[in-house]
């Protein structure tokens, strides 16, 4: 190996900032620092699985949940408010009778 001690140190520091796969006490650790990413990419038919879970499926479910929540919000906001006021109007009409 060549280079001054300073260059080597610089290099080592630079290396430490690179994204990496490493082990710590038997754990498998994927590390990023600074602005670099770690990416996992399959082909179009490949899946990413976390233990028994298909990540693609999970991500779809997150999106479906999000969409359902938007629908629910649309259905529930306004509607009960409206009903409440109608019921109140009925009540006052009955009192007026």
């Amino acid at each position: 190996e060549t280079g001054t001690p300073e260059q080597k140190l610089q290099k080592r520091i630079a290396d430490l900032h690179q994204p990496r796969m490493t082990t710590e006490e038997g754990n498998l650790v994927f590390l990023t620092s600074s602005a670099q990413n770690i990416e996992f990419r399959t082909g179009s038919l490949g899946k990413i699985k976390l233990n028994d879970d298909d990540l693609g499926e999970c991500l779809h479910q997150i999106q479906r949940n999000k969409d359902d929540i938007i629908d629910l919000k649309r259905n529930t906001t306004g509607l009960p408010q409206n009903i409440l006021s109608q019921v109140h109007q009925l009540n006052s009409k009955l009192v007026d009778l």
């Binding site: 190996e1 280079g3 260059q7 630079a14 690179q18 796969m21 490493t22």
Partner: protein, 333 residues
Amino acid sequence: AYKLWVPNTSFDTASNWNQNRTPCAGDAVQFPADKMVSVLVRDSHAISDMLLPLDGELVLASGAALSAAGGDSDPACNPGAPLLFRNPDRFSWLDPHLWSSGTQAPGLFSVDAERVPCSYDDVLFPRDGSFRVALGPGPNPVHVRSVSAVGQTFSRDEDLTAFLASREGRLRFHGSGALRVGSQACTDASGCVCGNAEMLPWICASLLQPLGGRCPQAACQDPLLPQGQCCDLCGAIVSLTHDPTFDLERYRARLLDLFLKQPQYQGLQVAVSKVLRDAHTEIQVVLVETEHATGAAGQLGHALLQDAVAQGSVLGIVSATLRQSGKPMTADS
């Protein structure tokens, strides 16, 4: 007795790479696509690209790391062509170069057939290293007493068979040959026949492969070919017949202490073992002159004959015969 498997398939072993160096920062590396292998990684490596085998594993030892190569790679490193991981299938069980029998006293050696595990041997694969072994070729199963690998010791055939069929086993053992365990340890003080005689052609083929399959020419006239040895050699062979009181280890120690320590025998190498010759067992003592032929092997052979006559009843030796190779060849003959 035991035999230890020497070569490994570690990422950090220079000889496993086609340029005889481990990957340096910025290297592109490739594993053969179709070769199953388990590879241990101990150090940190920054790599620009790595093609993995279709079936295999990289095992990360504590503190090991694989990282993306940084913008500036090591200036001492000169990444040109990709660094190729050598074919992990190249290591044969039958190759005598690839086994060690631990500490062998200086001056002693084993004939080629006995450098490979004998039927009574315990076979050890490095516990904290990755390895791959080709079983076969050859028509007969290999028999040994036990096999220790990946932290387990297999001494029953059914356990070994299950291991060999498992993924862990298939990553480490391959080839057409069969491996069996459960044979007896050698409990006969006079020694046991190794049992590799039928394998000798394949053992010699592995041994001589780096030499193009041919033995180097022996540097003497009428060279000798001991039982279990692949190539002719120059020196002497003492053959002993014995009674049940003969003790092989004691005789080896006697050879070392009484004879090989004498100055005139310093350049000699001696192999002592029980071999099968013409359907009878005998003790074969091979005396080899390692450097220049001085005639020391013949002198020691005669000394051993005299010793057998004088001390035969104490040592359990019934008879002794001596064969010697002929005159050394001169450089220009």
